[in-house]
């Protein structure tokens, strides 16, 4: 019985924690956010060398992992609230793995020398491919692509076709902006972008499982990141109430706060469980189902609760940018409201 993780997965998790503890504090995050591209390219190469990108795909595609390993990476990234575009890059790798595991871009992407953004249909709108064979064109919009303007490649998984496009291609329009989580996004509009044979990864019957895979991976990544953020915000709060003294004792001695911390702890454990459930479902290569959507909604709801409580229990200092609590709350709000995020899943689950 191996429910949570194998020994290899535990080693991966420990290596990630070590790197983050040594190299990625809040100041590093702020520096990364301040870069023109919205993240730190040296960090990107380092974590690629450590195998963080290879963890998301299997050996056939040049990696050593799968959804569960990717979730471990993203839980760590969530904990550190890393600004680096891991979700979108892992999504691109997973699409390539599913559609064309020998795609020429993979070695460069895995080594961190280049960066690709994965676009799952659920994050887009008005998507269409028109025309036949040699003269097809793609249209549609992805309004919130993390680090989109820094991408060397855009990898799209639509229900009938998967494509890899040069962001500089004709018909692709990008408007870059900073989001409420401090990250750089691009609003990418595709207007009759020609799809030549070189850009098509797969199509027709084989495209559907690729699109399902992309949807599944996007959900797993969202749940994992939310669960990591929740864990971090809880740990910050637990450390704070243990040392902050008021009325003659650490405030963590006050029972009303203890009970709220107990509930936060439960929420964090449950977020972890739900993120695990989502990853295991993707590992089994199940079609995206109700349970995966529930895992996304459930982790984001729990993380949001934890973030609000973290700020409240810190008091005044919780309202300041001196601590990473606001950053956590803002990031979770993005995971909730973004196209293909928790609210979209909730809508699907309840209507």
């Amino acid at each position: 019985m191996k429910i949570s993780q194998t020994e290899e997965q535990t080693l991966l998790s420990q290596s990630i924690s070590r790197y983050l503890a040594d190299r990625y504090d809040d100041a590093a995050r702020r520096r990364a956010e301040a870069q023109a591209c919205g993240y730190d390219r040296d960090t990107w190469t380092e974590i690629a060398e450590l195998g963080w990108l290879g963890a998301s795909v299997g050996e056939s595609a040049g990696g050593f992992g799968g959804p569960r390993e990717m979730a471990i990476v993203l839980e760590g990234a969530g904990r550190a609230m890393m600004a680096e575009p891991l979700v979108t890059a892992c999504l691109a790798l997973s699409i390539l793995e599913a559609a064309d595991p020998s795609h020429g871009s993979l070695p460069g992407l895995l080594s961190g020398n280049s960066m690709a953004c994965g676009l799952a249909a659920q994050a887009g709108s008005g998507l269409s491919v028109t025309g036949r064979n040699g003269s097809r064109v793609l249209s549609g919009r992805f309004p919130t692509v993390h680090a989109g303007a820094a991408a060397d490649l855009l990898v799209l998984a639509l229900p009938d076709i998967a494509v890899a496009l040069d962001p500089a291609a004709r018909g692709i329009d990008m408007r870059a902006f900073r989001g409420m989580d401090g990250r750089r996004y691009a609003d990418i509009v595709f207007r009759d972008v020609p799809l030549d044979d070189g850009s098509v990864l797969c199509e027709g019957e084989t495209a559907r499982p690729v699109a399902d895979r992309a949807s599944q991976v996007f959900s797993v990544a969202t749940a994992a990141e939310a669960s990591g953020i929740a864990a971090r915000l809880f740990e910050e709060t637990l450390a704070y109430v243990a040392q902050r003294e008021q009325f003659g004792q650490p405030i963590g001695r006050f029972q009303a706060l203890q009970h709220r911390l107990a509930d936060m702890y439960v929420a964090v454990e449950e977020a972890r469980s739900l993120a695990l459930a989502a990853a295991r479902s993707a590992e089994d290569d199940e079609a995206p189902g109700r349970a995966v959507s529930q895992a996304v909604v459930g982790t984001v709801d729990r993380a949001l609760h934890v973030a609000k409580e973290a700020i409240q229990l810190h008091g005044g200092v919780g309202m300041t940018e001196d601590l990473p609590l606001g950053a956590g709350l803002r990031r979770i709000k993005v995971l909730q409201l973004m196209p293909g995020g928790a609210e979209d899943h909730r809508k699907r689950l309840t209507t």
């Binding site: 019985m1 963590g252 702890y265 739900l274 349970a291 459930g298």
Partner: protein, 394 residues
């Protein structure tokens, strides 16, 4: 989703499922499914079936009549039987007093008491709480004064589930009034047919009679019925509280109750209402979280890394969830929930063909499910345990 079960676990699950399908009497299953009260005979009939199969005390060591089940097997057994509509396997003998006896008891006590539990011949109940000692067991005041080879027991125990059906009670009693409140307590096995024992029924808010107050008026108990050392009963009680609690999450029960909620919503026509869907989705999500948390804790128990407070976490969430499902189910009935008279629950019709009687079970369960967040250490106590032991907030 594959929870990583081993092939033998999967085979065991199939075995339990097939056995339950074949062996669970239909009338008992129907009562459980519709939330109607079970009679003593209902419990005993099902437990006799299990006893015949050797599955009353599966997790016990084989030498005491068990099957040496792993925690995973115990979990699978509970999940499968509960989901299939089997009655709650009453824990007082098998989960509570049995392990205390085989861990701390004398050879004579083992020989005398364990077989009756395994064969389902002796019905036990638990005597911990007292009117002035609820969460705070250290306050208990039922006295056992030494008189030769006997103790003379005086006092009373309250919230004693099924005492009116029981043969024996295991009780915490004060054997030394001078020492500190937690010390001076002993663990006694008391035959309920002893002279001086009276049982007062307590009517619960859902109309059922399962709670009792048990009075001891100069009840003579042989000293040989004390388990372990005198004045060290607290230790055994704590052992018992921590025992096998990973099973308390009631995942199987939650699944069964959600099935029924869906059925009722389909029938009552609210299944299309957005409010119902939001609520169902919330409950399903909470159950998914509970199930995977249970599995993670189970894994930790099996590889020896269990944090020790996993029982509190699961109790807190499991009790809250079944409570919420029970209320959602009553609400799904809408105005049809109203024709239910708790005063008629026990004597009233239990004819499964009677639609009102079915509703009665659902409303009764809504009310009854206020209890799990109170009993077995209230959820407030569980939060105390988590904040102290898991979070180190002292």
């Amino acid at each position: 989703m594959d929870a990583g079960w081993s092939p033998s676990d999967i085979a065991f699950r199939e075995e339990v499922r097939a056995f339950t399908r074949e062996s669970l009497p239909a009338d008992i299953r129907d009562k459980v499914m519709s939330g109607r009260p079970l009679a003593r005979t209902d419990h005993m009939r099902w437990q006799d079936v299990l006893a015949d199969r050797g599955w009353i005390a599966g997790f016990w060591p084989q030498r005491f009549g068990g099957c040496d089940w792993t925690p995973a097997q115990s979990y699978i057994f509970q999940e499968e039987t509960t989901y299939a509509g089997a009655p709650w396997l009453l824990p007082f003998g098998v989960n509570y007093v049995g392990p205390v006896i085989y861990t701390y008891g004398t050879e004579e006590q083992k020989a005398r008491h364990l077989p009756g539990i395994v064969s389902n011949e002796v019905f036990w109940c638990q005597g911990y709480s007292e009117p002035n000692a609820g969460s705070d067991l250290a306050r208990l005041s039922t006295r056992a004064d030494r008189d030769g080879d006997s103790y003379i027991v005086n006092g009373s125990k309250i919230w004693t589930s099924m005492a009116h059906w029981a043969d024996w009670i295991f009780a915490l009693v004060r054997t030394d009034a001078r020492s500190k409140p937690q010390a001076g307590i002993s663990f006694l096995l008391i035959d309920l047919r002893s002279p001086g024992v009276t049982i007062r029924p307590i009517r619960s808010i859902e109309g059922a009679h399962h709670l009792n107050q048990v009075f001891f008026d100069n009840v003579r108990v042989p000293v040989e019925n004390r388990v372990g050392d005198e004045n060290r009963g607290w230790t055994y009680a704590k052992f018992l509280l921590g025992h096998e609690r990973v099973l308390s999450a009631e995942v199987g029960k939650g699944k069964r109750m959600l099935d029924r909620l869906r059925t009722i919503a389909d029938r009552s026509g609210i299944a299309d209402s957005h409010r119902y869907r939001e609520r169902l989705n919330q409950l399903e999500t909470d159950l998914l979280a509970l199930e995977w948390t249970t599995l993670r804790m189970l894994e930790a128990v099996m590889d020896g890394s269990a944090p020790g407070y996993e029982a509190s976490l699961l109790k807190l969430r499991g009790s809250t969830l079944v409570q919420a499902i029970a209320e959602a189910t009553a609400d799904a009935l809408g105005p049809e929930a109203i024709p239910y008279d708790p005063a008629c629950l026990e004597e009233g019709t239990n004819d499964p063909g009677d639609e009102l009687a079915r509703h009665m079970g659902i409303v009764s369960e809504f009310l009854f499910q206020r209890a799990p967040t109170i009993w077995g250490g209230s959820n407030e106590i569980q939060r105390n345990i988590i904040s102290k032991h898991a979070l180190g907030l002292g």
